[in-house]
């Protein structure tokens, strides 16, 4: 049986079908039952509110403030007079039973939200449905504490609302099989963050075949799932899981070891942070710092532009979690291709060449200033690097530096050695101007994904361009070499934070160039460390000279594979 993979990993566990929410039957009452139903509704709502309050505390602790805010919004609406009035009206005038009245209320409000123009408001309709279900559960007196799970549970559910997901005892969950919800559903995001395998099973027959307590095998890399696998198969699966765990354990031992080449050159391994939970994984895998904190997630998770306090808190949490190691935070990098739901941007024919990154922020300076204020304040807790995205000329860098200076003075703070300013190098223009840029910044970090797309004039989102998009293209390789060497000559820190940084094949090249820092998804840090600890800087530097003379991507990759193969680092 095969579904679609949502979150990688392998699991063998016990099926636990979440009873969760079951549909409300249509039911009506007689006039003399109205008072009783009103009471049932209000008691149920109060139970739901009390349970939401507990959930908010749990979520704030486990997933951070921005996630907690979603449920604070739920609580606000759930306990408002409007809900009380509208539901009471449905009970009194239409003689619906309490559950039916609540669901009717939730669905009609969700429909109204879904008819709105803005996509963001449309999606908020889901919040009403979630709120409605929570009240119904309160009325029924079920599921509010979160269900008791067996150890090693594989959660099986039609779909999981944010509140249902958040209520689960995650330490007992070994996997997820769900029927509805995409890669970006709440449960998928959470499963990936907690490194729990998850599969989506859309076919009715497959899903319906799972029984409570069945033994379930699932593979979140392939989407494979098997119900009650045979003894032989279980043995095989266990062996595979054991092998996977052994490899993991070997890597985990590397955590305390420094990331240095065999001849003693350090290459710091930083973590990219794209959501609050990445931070936990950065610490778990022993990141030497944060090389790319994608501040967009703060803006995307919340229901409105995050204010200065919210942002300060989030940045400070990152700085504190890293305990004095460097944290490089990229200024809000958004544009028409990845708009914020609540911030409508004019449509552009060519958003990748349009108002994005720093260009947008300079148009909307108040947003930029708020973020800079938060970053300055967070730097009181430890070193913070402010990284400017989408730079193609010197003007925007000067402008941002001036604003940082103004805001620092306005906050009445002295100049701080904790605050540095750098840029993302992701346009050919920035590559060509690298010497001048290096004179006015403290560090640079190469965003290889965008640099590849802009250098090769290849849209990386367009599948028919796959043959043309190649980060090992000699034009890209030579651009990276130019930038890293210029930084070295200028004595400024250089880093790489695009996908290439975590690509094993690229490591000998980047190491040989003398890059200071590589920033990647936390899970790739230890595999990268294993490679770096297996090569000599001297050899890698010689390799770089050869690579810069090769004129095809294939040739470059072949040479790199050969280099790794000779050192038994390919596997």
């Amino acid at each position: 049986m095969t579904g679609e993979p949502l979150s990688p990993g392998m699991a063998l566990g016990t099926a636990h079908i979440l009873t969760g929410y079951s549909a409300v039957e249509h039911c009506t009452i007689t006039a003399d039952q109205v008072e009783g139903e009103l009471d049932r509704f209000r008691q149920g709502r109060d139970r739901a509110a009390a349970s939401l309050e507990k959930l908010i505390v749990k979520v704030r602790k486990e997933m951070g403030e921005s996630q907690a805010e979603i449920f604070e919004g739920h609580l606000e609406i759930l306990s408002s007079d409007d809900v009380d009035e509208e539901v009471a009206d449905l009970i009194t005038t239409r003689l619906f039973c309490a559950e039916k009245a609540v669901i009717e209320f939730a669905e009609s409000n969700a429909r109204e939200m879904e008819s709105l123009e803005s996509e963001y408001f449309q999606e908020r309709g889901q919040d009403f449905l979630d709120i409605g279900r929570q009240i119904v559960a309160g009325i029924r007196g079920e599921g509010l504490g979160g269900e008791a799970l067996p150890d090693g549970a594989v959660i099986v559910a039609e779909e999981l609302t944010p509140s249902e997901t958040a209520r689960l005892e995650m330490d007992k969950v070994r996997g997820f099989v769900i029927r509805r919800g995409g890669r970006n559903s709440h449960v998928a995001i959470m499963a990936r963050s907690l490194e729990i395998p998850a599969v989506i099973l859309t076919a009715e027959g497959l899903f319906g075949a799972i029984r409570q307590g069945d033994s379930l095998y699932l593979n979140g890399d392939t989407g494979e799932m098997e119900i009650n696998p045979g003894r032989e198969k279980i043995r095989l699966i266990r062996a595979r899981i054991k092998d996977l765990e052994a490899r993991r354990a070997e890597l985990i031992r590397l955590k305390e070891e420094p990331s240095v080449t065999t001849d003693g050159r350090a290459v710091k391994l930083y973590s990219n942070v794209g959501a609050a939970f990445d931070l936990k994984n950065a610490v778990k895998y022993g990141a030497d710092g944060i090389g790319l904190f994608r501040s967009e997630f703060l803006y995307m998770e919340s229901m409105s532009l995050p204010g200065v306090d919210r942002q300060t808190e989030a940045y400070r949490a990152a700085v504190e979690a890293m305990g004095g190691k460097e944290v490089i935070i990229r200024l809000l990098d958004t544009g028409a291709d990845k708009p914020l739901p609540y911030w409508q941007l004019p449509e552009e024919e060519n958003p990748f060449l349009g108002i994005r990154g720093i260009r947008l922020l300079l148009q909307k300076e108040s947003v930029l200033r708020t973020q800079i204020q938060a970053l300055i304040q967070a730097s009181a807790a430890g070193p913070v690097g402010i990284m400017i995205p989408m730079v193609g000329s010197l003007g925007p860098i000067e402008k941002v530096k001036a604003i940082i200076e103004e805001e620092r003075k306005a906050l009445g703070l002295a100049e701080s050695s904790n605050l540095s300013v750098g840029v993302m190098i992701e346009t050919p223009a920035a590559v060509m101007l690298i010497e001048e840029i290096l004179q006015i910044v403290d560090f640079i970090s190469i965003g290889t994904n965008d640099l590849t797309q802009y250098t090769l004039a290849v849209d990386r989102g367009n599948p028919s361009m796959n043959d043309y998009y190649d980060e090992f293209h000699p034009a890209v390789i030579r651009s990276i070499a130019k930038v890293v060497r210029a930084a070295g000559a200028a004595g400024k820190m250089s880093g790489v934070c695009g996908e290439m940084a975590g690509n094993k094949l690229a490591l000998p090249f980047l190491t040989g160039l003398g890059v200071d820092e590589l920033s990647m998804t936390p899970a790739l840090i230890l595999p990268a460390k294993k490679v770096i600890r297996g090569i000599a800087y001297g050899d890698a530097a010689e390799l770089v000279e050869q690579l810069l003379r090769i004129s095809t991507p294939q040739g470059i990759k072949t040479r790199l594979s050969q280099f790794l193969g000779e050192r038994e680092l390919l596997k």
């Binding site: 606000e76 409007d82 709105l116 123009e117 803005s118 229901m303 609540y342 911030w343």
Partner: protein, 86 residues
């Protein structure tokens, strides 16, 4: 009864957090306060109803106040909504 129109300037528009603040402000007044967007209207004292208008940045809304303290209310609400930053 008095009324006036304003253009929403904060990027979020009147959604959850800013909307809640507006509702809290509106509740301080005795008069009825409503917002009209296109053909829809809602009491500014109800978070749920305001949210359902879907008021976004750039929208022009009409605010109506009706009651004993309508003058202060209109003045205050206009200023308050224009001062939203999120």
């Amino acid at each position: 009864m008095i009324k006036d129109t304003i253009t929403i300037v904060n990027p979020t528009g009147l959604h959850t957090r800013p909307a809640k603040r507006v509702v809290d402000e509106a509740k301080r007044f005795e008069c009825e306060i409503t917002a009209v967007l296109g053909e829809k209207e809602a009491s500014l004292k109800s978070l749920l109803k305001i949210m359902k208008l879907g008021i976004s940045e750039g929208h022009v809304i009409e605010i109506t106040c009706d009651g004993p303290d309508e003058k202060e209310a209109l003045e205050h609400m206009k200023k308050y909504i224009l001062s939203l930053e999120e």
